[in-house]
């Protein structure tokens, strides 16, 4: 039973989070920051998420290529 629950959890983790949990955490952080900033200021906050993507994507690819090369 425990194994089945574990397998069920592992499936959904793999399905939603995928190969790199840092990307999911980074996305969640960017949206949280956008939400807080939009409440705290009237300045434009739309750039936070694109900036997060610009940083997260190469970092995630670099992690894979570094392992491949080593």
């Amino acid at each position: 039973m425990i194994n089945k629950v574990r397998a069920f959890g592992a499936f959904w983790y793999d399905f939603i989070i995928g190969d790199d949990w840092r990307v999911a955490v980074g996305v969640a952080f960017a949206f949280t920051l956008t939400y807080i900033a939009s409440r705290a200021t009237t300045a434009a906050v739309w750039w936070i998420v694109p900036l997060a993507v610009v940083v997260l994507l190469p970092l995630s690819i670099h992690r894979v290529t570094r392992h491949t090369k080593s």
Partner: protein
């Protein structure tokens, strides 16, 4: 977002996953038992329909702001996963997705498994192989179709795009009775990854309280900008193509596995 963009995104995502599912079903049917493989296909489609019927109203009942944040987050994480794999393949850091080789691998594994009858299913292995293929490949598409459709208040159009893609792949699959190795799957995955990332960013940021300059027109900048950035990543990380050792008896394939 226009209806055509919604249709294209769901259609392409669905083509990619349907081609992968077809390869698995073909392997199960060819190596084992067609009746069990087709039973597995319909059981898988039924399971997907139940999941969509259960999740559809739940997703639609979320308030728009919360929905956009939730959907945007999900699409952005999916999009970055698709895009990363596409970039790794295009830059030679990961073997290209090759349906012929995957078919041969599945075929070899299916031929070695023991036959077992369970209830109405003559060959349990063929049934489960086909069932898993349909459910696992279909689930992601179901999420994409459901989230895109509910956000645009146009689930029927998203469902039509998904159905059109499945019907097209099934029709071609039945006609050629072989894995659809000529479908430019890697390029399509690249395009879908760009679209998921763009819409995920747009909706997610809006749901979190941001206002995009130009409102919906911002997407016309976001999509090409992400495309160009992804191409720059391909150039930055480009290396020699990954060589995958081809197992004995699979000399016809030249690519790599998933």
């Amino acid at each position: 977002m226009s209806g055509s963009a919604l249709f294209i995104a769901v259609f392409l995502a669905c083509i990619v996953e349907a081609v992968e599912a077809l390869t698995i079903i073909l392997a199960a049917g060819t190596a084992r038992d067609w009746r069990s493989a087709i039973t597995g296909l319909f059981a898988g489609l039924l399971t997907l329909a139940v999941i969509i019927a259960a999740l559809g109203p739940a997703v639609s009942s979320i308030p728009l702001g919360g929905l956009r944040l939730f959907v945007g987050g999900l699409l952005l994480v999916f999009g970055l996963q698709w895009l990363r794999k596409a970039i790794l393949r295009a830059s030679g850091n990961k073997a290209l997705h090759d349906e012929s080789l995957i078919f041969q691998t599945e075929l070899a594994a299916a031929q070695q498994a023991q036959a077992e009858r369970r209830g109405l299913v003559a060959d349990w292995y063929a049934f489960t192989l086909s069932f898993k293929g349909v459910v696992l490949e279909g689930l992601e598409v179901a999420f994409i179709a459901l989230t895109f459709g509910s956000n645009q208040h146009n689930i029927p159009l998203a469902a039509a795009a998904a159905a059109a893609a499945v019907l097209l792949v099934v029709a071609v699959g039945v006609a050629v009775r072989a894995p659809l190795a000529r479908v430019p799957e890697n390029s399509m995955k690249f395009v879908v990854g760009i679209m998921l990332t763009a819409f995920g960013m747009f909706w997610g940021a809006e749901g979190a309280g941001a206002h995009w300059p130009g409102s919906d027109a911002a997407l016309l900048v976001l999509i090409p900008a992400i495309g160009l950035y992804a191409l720059a990543m391909v150039a930055l990380f480009r290396t020699k193509p990954v060589k995958v050792p081809v197992p004995a008896g699979m000399a016809t394939s030249q690519g790599g596995t998933h």
